[in-house]
């Protein structure tokens, strides 16, 4: 990802691509759905719509082939809000992940990175927004000066990913297609934030948004317009309209492969191709191949049924593993196939002992590594795997997956066998030897050991796993109760210390590479369920929460700082491995089963969808990194 290419090489590459593309563009056809408009003069011809050096999409996966135009991709979602998933799946980013989880410039033609401190972004010349207006460094300047640093529009300041130790970068426009950001200290989050599924947008369609901005039309006019539209003031209306991720404003220009043409509220979104999309295939044909995407909104419980009835062409969201059998049954009848992709979570269901719990007795216990190890040894992961995942999962602690270069087998097996004898011995060693009449161990202050686990109460998977764990922990003399809660209440209880243990999914990024941030492994935010107050301490710049006391946790904080200042990959890798090793030994979170599978329904005619992929939010953007714009319908092969 550290792209440092010399000026000469860059120029040569650009020239070569330009030649290749212009040659093939001259020979390439218009997408048929646009041909009429081009002939009528409503749209400029292809060569003028593409940037001078479009991005060539050519993937070397077996089974991948350049495709043909045409078709309508049907998908199902459960809420109107989910239309934002199209920005995730479309995955047009300044710089994005490819299938091999490498960062590759996408919207950007190239990017210069000096020590993770100075980033020079080179745009593609001639790149246009979906309404034909030019996409230039002006859009970046507009964002920087008139949005991010404007007190009315952003009263709470710059996004966190742009701040290093609370300091903003220096922004400069070098020329019409080049901008530069300079920090004093390295900002390793910058690129991963730009490549994220819900990315950091550092540009805006300035030409469209200026008409709502008081600086450009005058305060009175902007306010009048806002009030007429039902907002309190111009900043309110502005905030509503300037939402590239939410994807619900059909007038907002975009750089994504498909444009949403349906306003809310609706139960059916129609997205049409973006005539100015910047990617082409190796023959010079402009992507996407598919003309339209239809997103139907229906009740989430009906989605597996409708997918099984053949109403979708591509579906993964809202399909669960236990739907697989049903989906497989109707495969041939309804002309689709079901793939099983690997979910990239560190653990499907993980337990988080709350190291900041209020109750002092439980707090001492939770902070005692022997206790956590005993709890982990008392879980029969094999049974969980058999019962809930049909034996197809992988018993493991909460750590990274084998696909990641940072995986080591000892991380997975550390303290994750089922060994009740050893667990009992550890509990005895802590001193919890007294038991009551029912065989439950007693806490040092005489109360029976009744561990209450809070859940967000929605996933029957979690309930099932907890049911199984309850029985095995009983053998250790610990009574476990699951307390289902509502999500907000659940989080509040954890953050305030009222909850002693909670259950959630494990590491959200189970396939990291050394450049990705290990922020999940150290206290960095209040949202971390195992140490909310320590996380809060760092999130609020040492002004809230509590300072961590456990030596290993302090070490983790130090290591995280080292990662941020690291200058090359091997150093980052070393830091990662150390952090993972500490987690494996200290068992801060207790994982159960990983490598869970996600069913993906793909229509028989849809090509270029990998049969075997990773289903991950970040990195990966679910389908994003597999280039949905290059999926195509093969109607002749039927």
């Amino acid at each position: 990802m550290n792209v440092r290419t010399s000026l000469l090489v860059r120029c040569a590459l650009a020239l070569a691509t330009m030649m290749l593309v212009t040659l093939s563009a001259a020979a390439a056809d218009e997408p048929p759905s646009l041909a009429a408009d081009v002939a009528a003069g409503k749209l400029p011809p292809l060569a003028q719509r593409l940037p001078a050096t479009p991005r060539v999409v050519d993937i070397s996966r077996p089974g991948w082939a350049t495709g043909r135009y045409g078709g309508e991709l049907r998908m199902l979602m459960a809420k109107d809000r989910d239309i934002r998933m199209m920005v995730v799946y479309g995955y047009a980013r300044l710089i994005g992940y490819d299938e091999k989880l490498q960062l590759v410039p996408d919207i950007l033609e190239s990017l210069d990175n000096v020590g993770n401190r100075i980033f020079t972004l080179h745009l593609r010349r001639g790149h246009k927004w979906s309404d034909g207006q030019p996409f230039t460094s002006e859009d970046f300047r507009y964002y920087w000066e008139d949005v991010a640093n404007n007190k009315d529009v952003s009263p709470f300041g710059l996004p966190r990913a742009l701040l290093v130790d609370n300091r903003a970068p220096k922004f400069e426009v070098v020329d019409a297609t080049t901008v530069r950001y300079t920090w004093d200290e390295p900002n390793p989050q910058f690129l991963t934030a730009l490549a994220g599924p819900s990315p950091l947008f550092i540009y805006r369609p300035a030409h469209y948004l200026k008409q709502f901005h008081a600086k450009y039309v005058g305060l009175e006019k902007a306010n009048a317009r806002a009030v007429a539209a039902g907002s309190r003031n111009w900043a309110g209306l502005y905030q509503k309209l300037d939402e590239q991720f939410r994807n619900d404003n059909p007038d907002l220009p975009t750089l994504e492969p498909w444009i949403n043409t349906t306003p809310l509220p609706t139960t059916r979104f129609v997205l049409v191709r973006n005539p100015y999309f910047h990617r082409v295939d190796r023959m010079g044909r402009q992507l996407p191949y598919i003309d339209r995407v239809i997103v139907n909104i229906t009740d989430d419980k009906l989605i597996p049924a409708r997918a099984g009835a053949g109403s979708v062409d591509l579906q993964a969201r809202y399909l669960r593993f236990d739907n697989y059998t049903f989906l497989k049954q109707s495969e041939t009848r309804n002309h689709y196939r079901v793939y099983l992709w690997e979910k990239a979570l560190g653990s499907q269901v993980a337990l988080y002992p709350n190291l900041n719990v209020e109750d002092p007795v439980w707090r001492t216990l939770m902070r005692d590594v022997r206790f956590r190890r005993a709890l982990s040894l008392g879980i029969d992961r094999h049974e969980i795997n058999e019962v809930v995942y049909f034996g197809l999962g992988q018993e493991s602690a909460n750590t990274v997956l084998p696909r990641s270069p940072l995986f080591r087998p000892q991380f997975r097996t550390a303290w994750s066998t089922f060994d009740p004898k050893r667990a009992n011995a550890l509990l005895d060693a802590i001193g919890l030897t007294k038991r009551d009449d029912n065989g439950l161990r007693l806490l040092p202050d005489g109360r029976p050991m009744e561990l209450i686990i809070d859940t967000a109460g929605e996933s029957s998977e979690e309930t099932d796993v907890l049911e199984l764990i309850r029985d095995t922990w009983r053998q250790l003399g610990i009574a476990m109760f699951a307390r289902p809660s509502q999500r907000e209440v659940f989080r509040k209880r954890v953050f305030s210390g009222k909850s002693m243990m909670s259950v959630f999914y494990g590491l959200s990024n189970g396939v990291p590479t050394p450049e990705m941030s290990p922020s999940e492994l150290a206290p960095t935010t209040q949202e971390q369920l195992e140490w909310p107050m320590w996380g809060q301490y760092y999130e609020q710049n040492r002004k809230g929460g509590e300072k961590p006391e456990l030596p290993e946790v302090v070490k983790l904080v130090g290591l995280y700082g080292e990662w941020r200042r690291a200058s090359d990959d091997s150093e980052r890798e070393r830091v990662w491995l150390e952090m993972l090793a500490i987690h494996a030994e200290q068992v801060y979170t207790i994982g159960t089963v990983t490598h869970a599978l996600q069913p993906v329904v793909v229509s028989d005619d849809l090509r270029n969808v990998p049969a075997d992929g990773i289903f991950s939010w970040d990195p990966g953007a679910y389908f994003g990194m597999y280039n949905v714009d290059a999926f195509w319908f093969d109607t002749e092969g039927r």
Binding site: P159, R160, P197, A309, S311, Q486, R491
Partner: protein, 332 residues
């Protein structure tokens, strides 16, 4: 007559006012508010939230204001036709509700018609052949309608319809027709989809109506004038049709008062299961995510529908039944 109408309409106002207070209190009672639900939901799906955005939104929507002030804003807005703002959809509530209220009314109306058509003959047969096997049998069928939970029936019927008839699962029409103008194809599709909800919702209302109709008709059949008519030699069919049946018709109108709340709430849960574009699923979501203006407005609308429906039925009854007019009030 006009006085009566005026009085009834006037009495509606404090009722609606009381309803609005109750609705608002209930909406506010669950802990947390919309923003917190929203954040929690994003977290649960593994997405991250920009805290600054959240703080901004909280201030903008006035979620940090005291509750009585929020109530006054809401009611004040409603009187202007401004029903508040839906956080979930990021637009005024009226735009969100749009078609849904209309569809709810249509579905309810059609279901009431269905209930009438089914309950009428059964009720009459039951009353005239009391304690016979037919009576028991038909009552059983009617009761089965109440006994089988709506949602279960809806789920099974929907699946069966898909396997047997190829009807697409859920919704009131095939997805291609959504948002398109009304063509014959679209009407056909709607009819294809709507028989399930109508039957499911209708069956639960039918039994109650049968029972009430039967009881009323039995009362009428005991009266003196029926005995007289029979004694005078009128054939039984004619006796039935000319006199008690008229009284029974009366009953249809007046029974809307009991039927309407039942139909509407039955419609809600069935709509959730079948994913109909009516108020049901949206209301459930709004309640779960505490989109309070949306949920509050829905509840108000539903209550208003019932109050107005009852009013209309009372007025219709007054118009139909001279006894009520003359004695100056509805004896219910």
């Amino acid at each position: 007559m006009l006085l009566y109408v005026g009085k009834r309409v006037l009495m509606m106002i404090p009722t609606l006012f009381a309803i609005s207070i109750i609705v608002f209190t209930i909406i506010q009672l669950p802990p947390g508010n919309y923003l917190e639900s929203y954040i929690a939901e994003l977290q649960a799906q593994g997405e991250s939230v920009d805290q600054q955005k959240v703080a901004f939104l909280r201030e903008y929507y006035g979620l940090d204001k005291p509750i009585p002030e929020q109530y006054v804003r809401w009611v004040g807005g409603m009187l202007h036709g401004d029903f508040g703002y839906s956080f979930e959809f990021n637009m005024p509530v009226t735009k969100v509700i749009g078609d849904r209220m209309l569809l709810t009314i249509i579905v309810s109306f059609v279901t009431i018609l269905f209930t009438w058509c089914v309950a009428f003959p059964i009720g009459i047969y039951s009353a005239t052949h009391q304690y016979s096997w037919g009576d028991y049998g038909l009552s059983l069928v009617g009761f089965l309608g109440i006994a089988i939970p709506n949602f279960m029936l809806a789920l099974v019927m929907m699946y069966v319809a898909n396997v047997l008839f190829g009807t697409t699962i859920g919704g009131l029409m095939d997805p291609e027709f959504i948002g398109k103008p009304w063509t014959l194809e679209k009407v056909k599709s709607v009819l294809e989809h709507s028989w399930i909800p109508v039957i499911v919702i209708g069956t639960s209302g039918t039994a109650g109506m049968i029972r009430r109709l039967r009881a009323n008709l039995l009362d009428e059949l005991q009266k003196q004038y029926v005995v007289t008519a029979r004694a005078k030699g009128l054939p039984p069919g004619k006796v039935l049709r000319k006199y008690p049946l008229r009284m029974a018709l009366n009953f249809f109108i007046s029974d809307i008062g009991s039927l309407l709340p039942h139909i509407i709430s039955g419609a809600e849960i069935t709509a959730v299961v079948l994913s109909l574009p009516t108020t049901g699923p949206m209301l459930l979501n709004a309640l779960k995510s505490q989109d309070m203006y949306l949920a509050g407005t829905f509840l108000m609308f539903l209550a208003l529908l019932i109050v107005v429906g009852v009013l209309v039925s009372d007025l219709a009854l007054v118009a139909l039944d001279p006894r009520i007019r003359l004695t100056g009030g509805v004896a219910r």
